[in-house]
C-alpha cells in the first residue's frame, strides 16, 4: 500500500456492505411510506 491509509468506509468492513445498507434503507422507506399511506387514508 506504500504507507497509504486504505480507502475503506467507516462503520462497516467493505464498500459492498455500505451499498447493501443504502439499498436496504430505500426498501425500508418504501415499506414505511406504504404503511403511512394506508394508516392515514
Amino acid at each position: 500500500m506504500n504507507g497509504k491509509i486504505p480507502d475503506l468506509p467507516p462503520f462497516v468492513s467493505s464498500w459492498k456492505q455500505l451499498y447493501a445498507i443504502v439499498i436496504g434503507a430505500l426498501l425500508v422507506e418504501i415499506v414505511l411510506f406504504y404503511y403511512l399511506m394506508i394508516s392515514f387514508s
Binding site: A25, L26, M37, F40
Partner: protein, 560 residues
C-alpha cells in the same frame, strides 16, 4: 417583512458569502479554481451535492406540490439511492483515475473529440436553460414581497451570485454549501413545527395527517404500473434511476462537486450518504406542504396564492366579478371548516358512516372551490394574458408571510435565497469549466498557460451568468418550476447517459456510431415529448436505450 426579518436575511446571506470567500483565498491555478485542489472530505462532498440539487425550486415548489398534489412526488427520488451505488462502483473510480476536470474529457479518451464536443454542447444547452429557471425561482419571492419588477429582480439575483462565483471558485461554493444546508435544515424544521403549532388546539400532528389523508394528500405510494402516470413507484425507481444516474454521473454541476473529494473513498462516501439522506429530506419538505394544506382546512385559504395577480384584478374592470367570486369562496371556506370538524369528530368516534359522509361533503366543497378558482384564473387571463396562471410556487411563500412569526420569515427567505445561490453558483462553475476545458482549451486555444485558462474560466463564468439571466426573464411561462426543471433535464439526460453507458459497457462500439446515435436519439426524444408519448420521467429511459440500440446498429452498418 419587518426590520428583524430584513436583519436576519442580510446577516445570514452576508455571513455565508464572506465565509465562503474567506475560506477560498489563494486560488492559484485551474485545479484550485475548478476542483478545490481535490482536497475536500466526504461530508463536504455530501452536503455539496445535496445543496447543488436542492435549489430554491425545492423549497418553493415542493411544499406547493405537497399542498396541491399530495406526497406522491416523493416517489420521484426512489431511483436516487440506486444511482448513488452505481456511480460509486463505476463513474467515481474512473473519473478519479483519469484525473479529469470534467466528465466529458473521458469521452475523448474512449471515443473521439466529436463525441466529447457533442456531449458538452448538449450539457451546456440543458444546464444553461435550467439555471435560468433556478434564477427565476428566488426572483419571484423578491418581486412578490417587495413589488419589484421581476426582470430587474432576475438581474440582481443572477448578478450577485455571479460576483461571488467568479471570485471564489469551487472552494467558495463548497464551503457555502455546508452553511446553507445547516440553515435549511434548521429553518424547514422550525417551519414544520410552527405549522403544527398554528393548528386549532384540539388538532394535533396526527389529526392533521388524518385530515390530509382523507383529502387524498397522503398518496405516498402508487404501485400501479402506468406509463402515463407522472409519479408512481416504477417511474420513480426506473425512470428516476436513469435521470439521477445521468444527472449525477454526467452533469458537470454534480461531477464537479464530487471530484473535489480528496480520494475515491471520500467522493464515494459523500455520494452514498446523499443516497441515504435525500429521500427522507424530500419526504419532510413535502410533509410541510401537506401540513400547510391541513392548516388551510381549518382556516380560510386564498383563492389564488399569487397575491400580485389578485391585487391587479381588484384594480381592474373585473373587480366586481372577482369580489363576487371571493364572497362565494369565503362561504365555501366556512362550509369546509364545518366539514373538517365533522370529519374529525367522526374519526374520533370511529364512526365509519359519519366519516364517509363528512368526506363526501368535503369533496363536494372542494369541487365547488376549484370551480371558483378556475373562474378567478379566467379573469386573471382576461386581465393580463401574460400572467402566470399557476400558483403552486406561491403556496408556501404566501403561508410563510401571512402566518409565521417575524424572524422566522427572514430566516426562511434566507433559506430560499442561499439554497438558490448555492445551486446557481455550482451551475455557473460547471458551465464555465465545460466551456473552457472541453471546448476552448481543446479546440480554440490549445497553447495557453494555466494562468490564461484561469482567467478564461472567470470570463466564461461571467458570460454564462448573463445567458442564464436572459433565460430567467422568460421562465414565468413554465408552470411549476420543479417540474419544468425536471422535464427539461429529461429531454437531454437520457441521451447523455446513453453515451456514457456505451462508453463504459459496450466496448466494441466506436465514436462514429455513438456520435450519430446521440444525434438521432436526441431528435427522437424531443419528438416523443412533443407527441406526449409518455410521462416525462420515461424519456430518460427512452433516450438512454435509443442511444445504446442505435449505436449498436450503426456500428454493424459502418463495419459492413
Amino acid at each position: 417583512m419587518s426590520g428583524l426579518d430584513w436583519g436576519i436575511l442580510i446577516v445570514t446571506l452576508a455571513s455565508i458569502i464572506f465565509y465562503g470567500l474567506y475560506r477560498s483565498r489563494g486560488n492559484r491555478n485551474m485545479d484550485d479554481y475548478l476542483l478545490a485542489g481535490q482536497s475536500l472530505p466526504w461530508y463536504h462532498v455530501c452536503l455539496s451535492v445535496m445543496a447543488t440539487q436542492a435549489s430554491a425550486v425545492t423549497f418553493l415548489s415542493a411544499p406547493g406540490q405537497g399542498y396541491a398534489d399530495g406526497m406522491r412526488f416523493v416517489q420521484f427520488y426512489f431511483g436516487l439511492p440506486l444511482a448513488m451505488v452505481v456511480l460509486s462502483v463505476t463513474f467515481v473510480p474512473m473519473f478519479h483515475r483519469l484525473r479529469v476536470f470534467t466528465a466529458y474529457e473521458y469521452l475523448e479518451e474512449r471515443f473521439d473529440g466529436r463525441v466529447r464536443i457533442l456531449t458538452s454542447l448538449l450539457f451546456l444547452l440543458q444546464r444553461g436553460l435550467s439555471t435560468g429557471l433556478s434564477i427565476y425561482a428566488p426572483a419571484i419571492i423578491l418581486s412578490t414581497i417587495l413589488g419589484w419588477n421581476i426582470y430587474w429582480t432576475n438581474l440582481i439575483m443572477g448578478g450577485l451570485v455571479l460576483i461571488y462565483t467568479v471570485t471564489g471558485g469551487t472552494k467558495a461554493i463548497s464551503y457555502t454549501h455546508i452553511q446553507q444546508m445547516l440553515i435549511v435544515t434548521l429553518a424547514m424544521g422550525l417551519a414544520g413545527y410552527m405549522t403544527v403549532h398554528l393548528l386549532p388546539e384540539s388538532v394535533g400532528f396526527t389529526d392533521a395527517l388524518k385530515v390530509a389523508g382523507k383529502a387524498g394528500r397522503m398518496n405516498l405510494i402508487d404501485l400501479k404500473f402506468d406509463p402515463s402516470s407522472r409519479y408512481n413507484v416504477w417511474s420513480g425507481l426506473i425512470g428516476g434511476f436513469f435521470l439521477q444516474l445521468s444527472y449525477f454521473g454526467t452533469d458537470q454541476s454534480q461531477v464537479g462537486r464530487y471530484l473535489t473529494g480528496q480520494s475515491v473513498g471520500q467522493s464515494r462516501l459523500g455520494l452514498l450518504m446523499n443516497g441515504l439522506l435525500k429521500v427522507p429530506m424530500q419526504f419532510l419538505i413535502l410533509l410541510v406542504g401537506v401540513l400547510v394544506f391541513s392548516y388551510y382546512q381549518f382556516h380560510e385559504s386564498p383563492i389564488f396564492f399569487n397575491k400580485q395577480e389578485t391585487d391587479k384584478l381588484k384594480n381592474s374592470q373585473y373587480a366586481t366579478q372577482y369580489q363576487l367570486l371571493e364572497i362565494r369562496h369565503q362561504l365555501l371556506a366556512k362550509e369546509r371548516q364545518k366539514n373538517v370538524v365533522m370529519l374529525e369528530s367522526a374519526m374520533d368516534a370511529d364512526n365509519d358512516e359519519a366519516v364517509a359522509e363528512a368526506k363526501k361533503s368535503m369533496e363536494e366543497t372542494d369541487v365547488a372551490m376549484k370551480e371558483i378558482k378556475a373562474g378567478v384564473v379566467d379573469l386573471i387571463k382576461k386581465n393580463n394574458p401574460a400572467a402566470d396562471t399557476s400558483d403552486v410556487n406561491y403556496v408556501f411563500l404566501r403561508f410563510v408571510l401571512d402566518y409565521l412569526p417575524h424572524g422566522l420569515i427572514g430566516l426562511l427567505i434566507a433559506v430560499i435565497f442561499s439554497a438558490s445561490m448555492g445551486s446557481i453558483a455550482a451551475a455557473y462553475n460547471s458551465l464555465a469549466s465545460t466551456s473552457i476545458i472541453d471546448i476552448y482549451k481543446r479546440r480554440m486555444h490549445t497553447t495557453g498557460d494555466d494562468r490564461h485558462y484561469l482567467s478564461a474560466s472567470k470570463w466564461a463564468t461571467v458570460g454564462w451568468g448573463i445567458f442564464c439571466i436572459i433565460v430567467a426573464q422568460f421562465a414565468n411561462r413554465f408552470g411549476s418550476m420543479i417540474e419544468a426543471v425536471n422535464i427539461l433535464g429529461s429531454l437531454f439526460y437520457g441521451v447523455i447517459l446513453g453515451i456514457f453507458v456505451v462508453a463504459f459497457y459496450m466496448k466494441s462500439i466506436g465514436g462514429k456510431a455513438t456520435f450519430w446515435a446521440a444525434i438521432i436519439g436526441e431528435i427522437l426524444v424531443v419528438y416523443c415529448y412533443m407527441i406526449d408519448l409518455t410521462a416525462f420521467l420515461w424519456l430518460n429511459v427512452i433516450g438512454c436505450v435509443l442511444v445504446m440500440g442505435i449505436a449498436w446498429l450503426l456500428q454493424r452498418v459502418f463495419r459492413s
